[in-house]
Subunit: 657 residues, 2 copies
């Protein structure tokens, strides 16, 4: 095929630079003319596109030529889009949207029996939920480092957790507990992924049973942290082996698990020790002022290993199918302890060495650095300053902190690098503050555009952060991108954090969904498969009992309906004509016989709301009733070959007489 | 706020170049040290990231610094994802996914009454369809040029057309005709957007009524072109003023409208004059070989102004609610004429001057350039070579062409630039061929990675193409990006087409959906609004009768249920407590009182599958039954302020006694 006549690769770097740039030594040159099809010199290009030298530097740090791979993948939540967004770093190209809680037809997600069953796991009170507010993705860990095997993500709106297998980047499980009504601190994992932590945001009475907050808020409404047990061998959460710790109705917020010295503990912020419940047309102030009356809220310290022991010892009560350590037990047995924290905090982030816990109080200009050793010493000595109204022991604030760092306006969330620095997002000041964890001093601030929420650094919440890159996850985009109507994208800003001063590299719009938090992993930790084993059901990882072999395609009428055994291979389905009778239940079993990487087929039936994606080797099942008689084209929806348009046939439904 | 200490902007370009690059004049320098936080010289950077001079050139032609806008927007279909993708050019950043046929919760699309009604317009045979196979987007035109007002897109799977208003980038209407079973040549507009053209792909009997293709394919199955009338004032398709032209069941493919001299005509390819219908388990060969037996298929030439006259004259028959000019009438009255074309073509593309029609036969190595003048002369003279089996007059191939251009393997689709050149995608050869329309000679070929389907050039199908940029829309990505499991992104490749040789600039993965075709428009033609007028219902463009004013928030019990009149403004809903009784029908009316650009709020209710996006000024309605008693948090799902988490309340459903 066509080979561009390039300048010989044997030219020295110096020679190329001289040729490319020219400007510095001769006022004008068009060196690459006749070379690779470019004729503009670098100076001309910079002038034409109004690029500064900083822009050129940033361009070359992010531009990723054809066929070249990225160094990191970032998994960002998709907010109320209900998905996960996979982004290459430093190119900031979106490689995939993974459907999680929201049906998505390109992936066939929610359209075949397999993925319908995954979504059905997320029903609440018998209701289908076709969206979610995905907030915090968490990569699975071994020994406090990402292992690249699984990704978990929480649905704030409906208190659900999803499990994504990073061998095929597909959602395998959704769980929910009707104990709680929503979450926010979810998902966070313990250092060996024994548990996935999910914490309530807005409290409800357990099981969402009716109660009037005007009369019963304090007594009946409750928070909780659910510790979902993860079975690594099966790659699934085991609800039977999971448990919860009851909390007061304080509107818990973000969470983090202890690591190394603090392993076995988990930490949760709270933002409503005032017990405000709303009622701005019932004589109460607006919620946001009610929430902000107290100067201090409570950092919740949970000894989850102790909780695990109590559950094993039968000291949990089963409520809505979940084993719950009741508040009185948790308080009495040292499972739950409070430490005062600056009012209305958002992020709680454990340092890489596990020794400190950084709390960002969004209405305080400080970051507070709590010392786990100091907290544990007080707990061990039962040295409590007071108790909260629910009987939970409260430690001394001043005896629990290592110090505070003056950060600026609206600190939200903190990540770490490999050089002992922390990076905290400041929403109101709309900057990232870089500060020394040891010295508690700010080193640099980088403006963001605009209103940064969370941020993520390369492996920045593990015991071995990589440094290198940081992404500011900004909530408002305003004048950053071309106008696309009243609903704007968010703006991710990539920064180089290898030097003392942070350098802004790239502005990236998020075209779908509102990311809240992300995880950034080195790509060499990920080992996704290229194709499925022939006949494989992706949800079991095994050959389906209904897998269809070539030359064994057929249509069988059985007591439970008509079974279609179909194969797909470039460029036809076999059979390509399927005849049923109106009213038949149809069980469609289909295999993509391809084993070539990227040889995906789609399968759609006109007017029947059926479309699935069948990756190479994949087996899929679709069950439906042929309720409408007539002639319905079926075809491959993935442009698979030059004869793709011919990969079609008919679904013929003979009318009832 | 923070101001980085940059190198003074007054440095001359030459000076900056010398400082930045160094390499050409001195062997090593780290010039920007202490500058904007960068310390690597250009040579070091190129070495560190293994960039060639061509890479640097491409990087600087695409990199778009913070806050800088793109020159063009590309609207690409999202394939079986059912959306439209909005991409900035040259940065190749995705600015938005517009939900069209598939419900999407981030946009609240399919979750409020307004957008549910839009989706309901796309029901077929009473069935909800929650996906689509979006194929060909078409921008509205005035006088053959894009006017930036509307975008139309077809659903191949279910024969539907959607109307997107580019004032707010939202889908306003979906129409379908049960006359046909699916489309492919859709949407294409006539030069003043009088009509949006939709052509069948796989033929079915009109109305999808049952017939056995083994016995009745030739007699009962039919194709058609629907001319959907567009009412520019209302911004909606008027189905009553639309009509169809019946075609033989030849599997019509792509379409294009004539322009300038050929205005009033439309052109359609066909790929199955063999009348193959499948049946590979019923004694027939696979469809793909059946389709390829004949050397020539038929280019369908439709005189749509004549058709319009016939409809007005009452010569159409109403079938499935659509006025249809029957085949015999179309043939007899000069509405439909055939011209032989090389077998199994894909693209049919009218040149900017409207004089020629380029047909790419994917199993032929040529592009065939038909002359409209020659075709029209024969039609006017009723000089027909023969008739097809349905009585449609067939012109002489050799008397209809201006010539052929030897392109290469698998030509699919053609676009044009401002210098008289055409660009044709070659799927099998996996290149773009640039050729002179006048000379019928190939000038350049650019490899693509891999398997290019369609391509799009800047305003490349209008009467005034811009040249400048071209995007190759490649079907396979293989080794282009980091692995993300067996389902891969597609690969869009941006090329600079200002020089004789095309220059590859950028590889862009498509993370969701499989784009088929796109339209690229200069951004200055687009004038989207920033915010809605207070109380505006986006679907009517008018103030809603249920619009809620500040201080008039309330809950009213009426015979048809409970009406909630709620407002949203940073950082609370009013009322924030809503009390209803189990079984109540709830009519929720909500207004975002903000008028600040980007001050979007979300509104969600836990466990009730409710989430909408309310842009500034927007009014929205949600209707549902409060069937589950209990306590359900409601909250803002869009991170709107530092007190966003406090923007919450409760939906209280008192149980039936």
């Amino acid at each position: 095929m066509h080979q561009p006549k390039g300048i010989s690769r044997s030219l020295s770097a110096i020679g190329i630079m001289a040729a490319l740039v020219g400007g510095a030594c001769s006022s004008k040159s068009e060196v690459t003319k006749g070379g690779v099809g470019t004729s503009a010199s670098l100076t001309d290009l910079m002038k034409a596109r109004n690029l500064s030298e900083a822009d050129v530097n940033a361009a070359l740090k992010t531009y990723t030529p054809t066929g070249r791979m990225d160094e990191y993948l970032t998994f960002a939540s998709g907010g109320h889009g209900g998905q996960v967004i996979v982004i290459g770093v430093p190119s900031m190209r979106i490689l995939k949207y993974i459907a999680v809680f929201t049906p998505e037809p390109w992936q066939g997600y929610g359209f075949d029996d397999q993925t319908k069953a995954v979504l059905a796991g997320g029903k609440r009170f018998g209701k289908d939920l076709t969206w979610a507010d995905t907030h915090h993705p968490a990569l699975s860990e071994q020994g406090g480092d990402y292992d690249g095997k699984f990704l978990f993500i929480g649905d704030k709106a409906n208190a659900r957790i999803a499990v994504i297998d990073l061998s095929d980047f597909e959602t395998k499980q959704i769980v929910t507990s009707e104990l709680i009504g929503g979450d926010h601190g979810a998902a966070f994992v313990t250092p060996n992924t024994d548990y996935i932590v999910e914490t309530t945001q807005y409290p409800v009475p357990f099981g969402s049973v009716y109660a009037d907050p005007a009369k019963e808020f304090k007594d009946k409404f409750r928070g909780a942290a659910i510790f979902w047990r993860f079975d690594r061998t099966k790659g699934r959460i085991d609800p039977e082996a999971s448990f919860a710790v009851e909390f007061p109705p304080y509107t818990q917020d973000l969470a983090d698990a202890g690591k190394l010295t603090s392993d076995g503990y988990a930490f949760f912020n709270s933002i409503n020790t005032e017990l405000t419940w709303g009622g701005n047309q019932e004589g109460n102030p607006p919620m946001e002022s009610g929430y902000s009356k107290n100067d201090m809220d409570y950092l919740h310290v949970v000894n989850w290993r102790k909780a695990e022991e109590l559950v094993k010892a039968g000291k949990a009560e089963t409520i809505n199918g979940m084993k719950v350590i009741r508040l009185a037990t948790a308080a009495a047995e040292g499972v739950l302890t409070f430490v005062p924290e600056s009012k209305s905090p958002h992020g709680v982030d454990v340092t890489p060495d596990g020794e400190d816990i950084v709390v960002s109080g969004k209405l305080d200009t400080h970051g507070t650095v709590f010392s786990f050793a100091k907290i544990k010493a007080q707990i061990d000595a039962k040295k409590f300053e007071t108790k909260d109204p629910y009987g939970v022991p409260v430690l001394s604030f001043k005896d629990s902190i290592r110090g505070q760092v003056e950060l600026g306006l609206g600190p939200l969330h903190t990540q770490f690098d490999d050089k002992g620095n922390a990076y905290t997002s400041l929403f109101l000041e709309t900057v990232v503050a870089k500060w020394s964890v040891k010295d508690l001093k700010v080193i640099d601030k980088m403006p963001t555009h605009y209103n940064i929420g969370h941020l993520v650094a390369a492996e920045g919440d593990t015991i071995h952060p990589d440094g290198k890159y940081l992404i500011a996850m900004n909530k408002w985009a305003l004048d950053r991108f071309n106008k696309v109507g009243p609903l704007l994208p968010q703006n991710f800003q990539l920064a180089d954090i290898t030097q003392t001063k942070m350098q802004l590299l790239y502005d990236m719009p998020i075209p779908l969904g509102e990311p809240h938090y992300a995880q950034m992993i080195k790509v060499d930790k990920l080992k996704p498969i290229d194709v499925y084993t022939p006949g494989e059901d992706p949800m079991t990882g095994k050959r389906s009992v209904n897998a269809v072999e070539p030359n064994k395609e057929r249509v069988e009428r059985r007591p439970d309906g008509v079974h279609v055994y179909m194969t797909a291979i470039r460029s036809h389905f076999t059979p390509d004509i399927v005849r049923v009778k109106q009213g038949d239940t149809v069980h469609w079993h289909i295999d993509n016989l391809e084993q070539a990487y990227d040889a995906t087929h789609g399968f759609a039936i006109n007017s029947y709301n059926i479309n699935i994606s069948i990756e190479p080797g994949e087996h899929s099942d679709i069950t439906f009733v042929a309720d409408k008689a007539g002639v319905f084209p079926l075809y491959c929806t993935e442009f698979c070959s030059a004869l793709h348009l011919e990969m079609a046939g008919y679904f013929l439904v003979e009318p009832k007489i």
